[in-house]
C-alpha cells in the first residue's frame, strides 16, 4: 500500500480509525482488495510504478460526516481525493492524481432532493447517476428531459463539474449548473448564488446571487467538496427529427462551417453535432487515414476518389427538438441556408413524436433523446478501455484543415499508425467552438500503454503549438496539460495556487487536480 506522502504509518492508522468513528467501520476501506477497487480500470499506467493508486477510501453519507472527515484530514495532513460516482473513465475513473490519497467516495450520497418540471431543474447529491435521475423523472411522470453524456452511469454532479458534454440542447453541462452547496477545506459549508440567502426561494432559478460569481472555481478544481448541485433541465419536447447535410468538395467546408456557426448561434440548430466525412472515412477504410499524412493523397486526388465513389467530402447530421411545426421550419431554414453551397444535398432522417414507440431494430439515438445508455461502449471493442485526448479548436474550416495536417504530421513523426487510434472529426459539444476527440486504446500491457502515453504527450504539445488546448484530461496528464496553459509565466496557475494555499493551507483536497498543487506538495508536479 502507498501511504500519503509525508504521513507516518501510525498517523495514517490513527486517521483511519477516526474516519471509522465518523462513518462506521464498514465504510472505511483499507484492505488491499478493497482499495484495489478504486484503481482506474482504464489506467494508462496499469501495472507500472507510477500508476495512480489510493491508500484507502472513506464513504460518508452526509454533509456533517464530510465536515468531520475534513477536520481529521487537516489534523493528519491526509490528502482526500473526492469522487461522486467514480465513473470518470477515460479521465481517471475513481483514481487520484496523487498516489497515496484517500478516496472520499460520495456514492452513498444519492438523494434526488428536487425535480421541478415547471421551472425545469433538479437538485441532486453527488452519488445520483443519470440513470437514477432519468428513472425518477419517468416514475413521477415529470415533463422534463435530462441531458446524459454518452455513458449514463456517471453523475450529473461529476460530469457537470468536469465540464462534460451531452447531446441535447442542454449539452454544455457546466453551463446548466445553477447553485451549489460546498464543504470547504476548513469544514465550513457554503451555498453559492441565491443559496447564500438563507430563506432563498430561487437557488436553482438564478445562478449569480449577489457579488462575485464563484461557481466556476469549483469546477475541475480542488477548492472544495461539492455536496449538492442544481442542474437546469429541458422541458420534454413534443418531437425530435434529424437530417443530414452533405457537401461535395474539400473547400466547401469553409461556407459549411460558417453556415453552421450562424445557425447554432441563432439557436436554429441546437444540440451536439459531429462533422463527418464519408469520403475520408472511405479513404481510411482502404488503408489510408482520415488525417492528412505526409506524402498521402492530395486534396485533388481525394476529391477525384469522391467523385468516383459518389461520396461527399463533408456531411453532418443536424438534430431538432421541439414542437413539430417549429422543428420542421428549423430544418427547412437550415436547408435553405446550406443550399447556398453548390452541390449541397439533404436527407431527411428520423422523426419521433413523443411518447415514441421503438422497435428493437431501430437505430435510436438514445442519448440525444435524453435517455441514458451505455451503448457507446459497444463502439469501443477490444482492449481494456481508452483515454481521451480532447482539444478545443476554433469553429472554422481552416482550423479543421490545420488539424488534419498537423496531427497527421505528428503521428508520422511519432511513427505511429493513426488507424490504430480512434479519431473523430470535430464535435460541437460547446457553443462557439469545436472539440476533437481522440480515443487512445488502453490495454493492461505496459509497452502498448507507453506508446499511447508518448503519443498523448506529443499531441498535447503539438496542439499547444497551434493554439489548441484540452478541455479536460486524464489524471496522469493533468500536469502535462496544465503546463501548456502557460500565458505570462503561468499566471493563471499561480493564481489558482495562491487561492489553493489560502483556502486549503494543509493541501488536503485533491492535490494535483488540474495541475493545481498545494504548497506542501508542489514538488510533486511533473
Amino acid at each position: 500500500m502507498k501511504l500519503p506522502p509525508g504521513v507516518s504509518a501510525s498517523d495514517f492508522a490513527a486517521a483511519l480509525e477516526k474516519f471509522a468513528a465518523v462513518v462506521g467501520k464498514e465504510w472505511v476501506f483499507s484492505s488491499q482488495d478493497d482499495v484495489d477497487l478504486y484503481r482506474d480500470s482504464y489506467s494508462p499506467l496499469w501495472h507500472e510504478e507510477d500508476e495512480r493508486v489510493p491508500s484507502a477510501a472513506v464513504a460518508p453519507d452526509g454533509v456533517e460526516q464530510i465536515q468531520a472527515i475534513v477536520k481529521i484530514a487537516n489534523t493528519y495532513k491526509i490528502p482526500l481525493w473526492t469522487i461522486s460516482t467514480g465513473k470518470n473513465l477515460a479521465y481517471g475513473g475513481s483514481s487520484p492524481a496523487l498516489s497515496g490519497s484517500v478516496i472520499l467516495d460520495l456514492k452513498r450520497m444519492n438523494r434526488i432532493l428536487e425535480v421541478n418540471d415547471k421551472n425545469h431543474y433538479a437538485l441532486v447529491e453527488p452519488g445520483v447517476s443519470y440513470f437514477d435521475l432519468y428513472h425518477y423523472i419517468q416514475d413521477h411522470k415529470l415533463n422534463v428531459w435530462i441531458d446524459p453524456p454518452d455513458p449514463g452511469w456517471g453523475s450529473p454532479m461529476g460530469n457537470s463539474l468536469e465540464r462534460g458534454g451531452g447531446r441535447t440542447p442542454m449539452r454544455d453541462h457546466f453551463a446548466s449548473v445553477c447553485g451549489m452547496e460546498i464543504v470547504l477545506a476548513n469544514g465550513e459549508v457554503i451555498r453559492t448564488g441565491m443559496g447564500a440567502l438563507p430563506e432563498s426561494k430561487t437557488w436553482q432559478q438564478y445562478k449569480y446571487g449577489f457579488g462575485p460569481y464563484v461557481d466556476g472555481m469549483f469546477s475541475q478544481s480542488n477548492f472544495g467538496i461539492v455536496t449538492k448541485i442544481g442542474i437546469w433541465l429541458m422541458p420534454s419536447p413534443e418531437a425530435y427529427r434529424d437530417g443530414v447535410v452533405s457537401v461535395p468538395k474539400h473547400d466547401d467546408l469553409i461556407p459549411f462551417v460558417d453556415t453552421l456557426s450562424f445557425l447554432i448561434d441563432s439557436s436554429v440548430v441546437r444540440g451536439t453535432m459531429l462533422l463527418d466525412s464519408p469520403l475520408l472515412s472511405y479513404r481510411a477504410s482502404q488503408g489510408g487515414s482520415v488525417l492528412d499524412m505526409p506524402g498521402g493523397p492530395t486534396v485533388a486526388e481525394t476529391e477525384k476518389l469522391g467523385q468516383e465513389k459518389g461520396l461527399p467530402y463533408w456531411s453532418m447530421e443536424l438534430h431538432f427538438w421541439g414542437p413539430p411545426n417549429v422543428i420542421d421550419a428549423q430544418w427547412e431554414y437550415a436547408k435553405e441556408k446550406f443550399s447556398a453551397i453548390p452541390g449541397a444535398t439533404f436527407k431527411d432522417g428520423r422523426y419521433y413524436h413523443f411518447p415514441m414507440e421503438v422497435k428493437d431494430t431501430d437505430a435510436v439515438p438514445w442519448v440525444a433523446l435524453g435517455i441514458p445508455s451505455l451503448s457507446v461502449f459497444g463502439l469501443i471493442a477490444g482492449g481494456n478501455g481508452h483515454m481521451d485526448f480532447s482539444p478545443i479548436i476554433p469553429m472554422q474550416a481552416e482550423a479543421v484543415f490545420e488539424v488534419l495536417s498537423a496531427f497527421g504530421k505528428a503521428y508520422a513523426d511519432l511513427g505511429i499508425e493513426p488507424k490504430n487510434q480512434f479519431f473523430s472529426l470535430p464535435w460541437c459539444f460547446f457553443p462557439h467552438s469545436f472539440v476533437l476527440l481522440f480515443g487512445f486504446p488502453i490495454a493492461h500491457d505496459v509497452e502498448k500503454n507507453r506508446e499511447s502515453r508518448r503519443a498523448f504527450q506529443r499531441l498535447v504539445e503539438v496542439a499547444a503549438e497551434h493554439g489548441w488546448g484540452e478541455y479536460r484530461t486524464h489524471v496522469a496528464f493533468m500536469d502535462a496539460v496544465s503546463n501548456v496553459y502557460s500565458f505570462n509565466n503561468h499566471a493563471l496557475r499561480r493564481l489558482h495556487e495562491r487561492v489553493k494555499d489560502a483556502i486549503d493551507p494543509n493541501g488536503i483536497l485533491s492535490p494535483g487536480k488540474s495541475g493545481i498543487w498545494p504548497k506542501r506538495l508542489r514538488q510533486q508536479r511533473a
Partner: protein, 129 residues
C-alpha cells in the same frame, strides 16, 4: 416488458434507510438503484441484476455486454447472462470486482457484497444441480 411498480421515493423516504421491494431488500447505501423494478414473481436477485447489470447485459439494442458475449460465443452460449445455465458464482464476483475487457471494476459503494451475492444467486439459478 417487465412489470413495474411505482414507489414514491422522495428525499424524505430515502433518508429512512433501507427500503423493501417485495421482500427483497434493496440497500439504501448501494446506490444506482432503480427502485421501481418489482421483484414480484421474480427469482431472488432479479431486482439487483436489473438495477446494476441490465443496462449493459440486458436484451434489446445498444447493450455492450450482451453484444460482447454474442461476439465471443457466437450463439454457442446465450448472449444474455440471465439466460445462462453454466455460470459460476465465484467467477461472476471476480469479474465484477476485477473488471474484464472494457467492463470496469465495481466498488462496494456501487454494488455491495450482499447485492453481489444476490446477483450471483440469480445468474446461477438455472444451473443443473
Amino acid at each position: 416488458m417487465n412489470a413495474r411498480v411505482v414507489i414514491i421515493i422522495g428525499a424524505v423516504l430515502l433518508s429512512f434507510g433501507a427500503q423493501r421491494c417485495n421482500g427483497q431488500e434493496v440497500s439504501r447505501s448501494s446506490a444506482w438503484t432503480r427502485t421501481t423494478i418489482s421483484g414480484q414473481g421474480q427469482p431472488k436477485g432479479y431486482v439487483q441484476f436489473e438495477n446494476y447489470c441490465s443496462m449493459c447485459h440486458g436484451p434489446g439494442p445498444g447493450q455492450p455486454g450482451t453484444m460482447a458475449l454474442q461476439a465471443k460465443y457466437k450463439g454457442a452460449e446465450p448472449a444474455l447472462l440471465a439466460d445462462r445455465t453454466d455460470l459460476n458464482g465465484a467467477v461472476i464476483k471476480a469479474y465484477v470486482r476485477n473488471g474484464i475487457s472494457i467492463m470496469p471494476i465495481f466498488r462496494k459503494t456501487e454494488i455491495s457484497d450482499a447485492n453481489l451475492d444476490l446477483i450471483a444467486e440469480y445468474l446461477t439459478r438455472n444451473n443443473k444441480k
